[in-house]
Subunit: 93 residues, 4 copies
């Protein structure tokens, strides 16, 4: 995440939007909105979190993992394994 | 969602926790935390949203869909179809 | 699943198609096809399995769960809980 | 996928197992097994396909993407983008 200030700004905007969606969900529950409408909003928030994660992951592969690959050594393998584990958690969450 | 005040309280608590997780994500991005740690936190927030959705869905099946079934008529089919569509959105989000 | 012979036929067709996709995957691995193309085919097979599951689940809600609701008693609650658990496994698989 | 014969063997074994699961699903539908049991088996097959995909993806990052990174040039960016798109399809399938 270090130093990619354009995407940092973009990430901040996306997360504020997700926060807004989650606050919207709280109001929907408070106002006894219809379950199905609440579930639709949950799906939207989940999709937005996933998009954020996928965008962060692409940056991570393009920067941190690539730098480790160029340096070589065991660190490169560690980074690939670490990224793979994060992808697995993402797929299963 | 109407009238199940115990679960309404429970839903509100879950969503406040998700909101806290999303605010935590914003701080992590702001503080240039390591991508993999941010991704782990995204997976936690996504899982928490999914758990909320699954709990809401179970209530919906037990109450709204069941009531429509007992009334009978086309409304019952509409409710099942609507719930199935919400499940499909949830699975794919 | 008992007695809905139209959908039973439809389910059989869907599953034969998934089997074909999985055999296609085996040939792709055997022939050293490009990883990304194999992953695209995995996503297609996974989506097809999910669509089958969602269609089966909708039938289950419309028939088995609805019948249990009409009978009433504890069996109705058991059916809703069982369906909710299956949905949770589906969402997380 | 080229030349990693140990993992190629491992992939073949995993996919044969998934094929067995899908044939098992066909028998379950044929024999009118209980929906919930069929759905449990679908979740198992979906999980097995996902595990295969995650293992293939990790290899792809460790070999094809790493090689492109070491060569440098636009090909490296293409490989990262391609992998990211495959991850997105996997997450959403």
């Amino acid at each position: 995440m270090v130093g990619y200030s354009g995407s940092k700004q973009d990430h901040a905007v996306r997360l504020r939007r997700v926060e807004g969606q989650v606050r919207g969900l709280q109001r929907m529950v408070e106002d006894d909105k219809y379950c199905i409408d609440i579930l639709t909003q949950v799906s939207a928030a989940t999709s937005a979190l996933r998009s954020f994660a996928l965008s962060l992951l692409e940056e991570h592969l393009a920067h941190c993992v690539a730098e480790a690959t160029l340096k070589g050594g065991p660190e490169a393998d560690v980074k690939v394994r670490e990224a793979s584990d994060a992808i697995a958690r993402l797929v299963r969450s």
